[in-house]
């Protein structure tokens, strides 16, 4: 019998759930930790739910929130649907919205909080526009109604460029220069592991199909509070993009996060915690009000 101290086992549990999205069955992987208010976390384009692991191992958060992160189909451990024929993957606003609502329904989540980053932040705005009453709060990280493109996505999926290396190198500059090196490498590793064309397919939603300019004024934050937090080093969705978006939304609460970039939850979890913990406290305070 070993006398050494037992190796620490992290609290999150991973499982699969199968449910229809737009009429097609999907087997979706998700991880969760904690108990309380359901907090559904949406990963960035071309990555997966592992980005949220630090939130799931934060006992001060998981004692109040059931933190849940699922991998979008084609991402992480969520396969493409069984009837996929190899056609190039493309995420649309309708499919993304349907996926989130179907996942919440499959887990029977009662008015969850949804927090999304990047494409997840964009779709949070769409949820606020069209489905606000289904959620108790919405949190958009690196979120804006639109961002100006800064490279050609055709480079992301072609046989003469290594997609994983190119995707990771492109996003590598979106983080703060002083972040912990291990967190930087881990954040980029998720991109290197992404399937061919998946990042590009997500960006179809981000750049083409999901342009919300002119629609965000319809958001009613009295129906569902909306928090927007953007890292100062994110030049893809810059603080100016978020501030511009917020000006059209009465009651939106905006924070610019110092020493953080496009991946706050994975690039520097301790720094991110300084900003997200007060937001989650506010969500909890509102939830406790009759």
């Amino acid at each position: 019998m070993s006398t050494t101290v037992p190796a620490p086992i992290e609290p999150m549990i991973g499982r699969y759930v199968t449910f229809p999205i737009e009429g097609r069955p999907h087997r979706v992987y998700f991880e969760e930790a904690g108990a309380g208010i359901p907090l559904v976390c949406l990963h960035t384009a071309g990555s997966d739910g592992r980005q949220w692991r630090h939130l799931m191992t934060d006992p001060e958060i998981t004692q109040h929130f059931r933190v849940i992160a699922f991998d979008l189909p084609f991402h992480g451990k969520s396969n493409p649907p069984e009837d996929w024929d190899g056609t190039e993957y493309r995420l649309t606003t309708a499919a993304y919205t349907a996926t989130i609502r179907a996942f919440c329904g499959a887990l029977r989540l009662e008015k969850p909080v949804v927090m999304g980053c990047s494409i997840g932040g964009r779709i949070v705005l769409n949820l606020a526009i069209d489905h606000a009453a289904e959620f108790s709060a919405l949190i958009g990280l690196e979120a804006a109604d639109f961002q100006q493109p800064w490279y050609d996505t055709e480079w992301l999926n072609r046989p003469d460029v290594h997609g994983g290396e190119a995707c990771a190198a492109l996003v590598s500059g979106l983080m703060s220069p002083d972040l912990p090196p291990a967190r930087r490498m881990e954040t980029l590793w998720h991109y290197k592991q992404s399937g061919p064309g998946v990042f590009k397919g997500d960006l179809y939603f981000y750049r083409v199909d999901g342009d919300l300019r002119g629609r965000t004024a319809a958001i009613d934050t009295k129906v569902c509070p909306l928090y927007l937090l953007t890292g100062e080093y994110d030049y893809s969705c810059s603080p100016d993009d978020t501030l511009r978006t917020a000006r059209s939304i009465s009651g939106a609460q905006v924070t610019v996060m110092e020493r953080l970039g496009h991946f706050p939850m994975s690039e520097n979890p301790e720094q991110f915690r300084r900003y997200i913990a007060p937001v989650l406290d506010d969500v909890r305070r509102r939830a406790s009000q009759p």
Partner: protein
Amino acid sequence: MDSEDDVVARLLRLPDLLERAPALQERGRFLSVDWLVGVPGRPFRVRIEQGRIVRMDEAPKVMANWRFAYRARPEAWMEFWQPMPKAGWHDLLALTKRGAATLEGDLHPFIANLQYFKDLLALPREVRA
């Protein structure tokens, strides 16, 4: 020394700095290319062979032959090389997005080796105290 001369002096250190970065050389081992780097109006032509800089000289004024060019204004280079660069000045493509740098030509070798070029051009960045 004005800022353009300072930028040029730092760029000319690239071959030596790369020689002292074996991991970066290794990452570029499949890369051989002629490209331009510098400030507008004063570019240098750099010959990379298998990840190592084997030649770097002022670009010819006529009949210059290169695959791609990355040129930034002197103040952009100096901000980029700060130990903790300001947001928006901290990445090669942040500079192109804000219009402080241009990237032209056949971008394939640049994109296919993007992290290599990002790390190479960051070598002159001052080490944080």
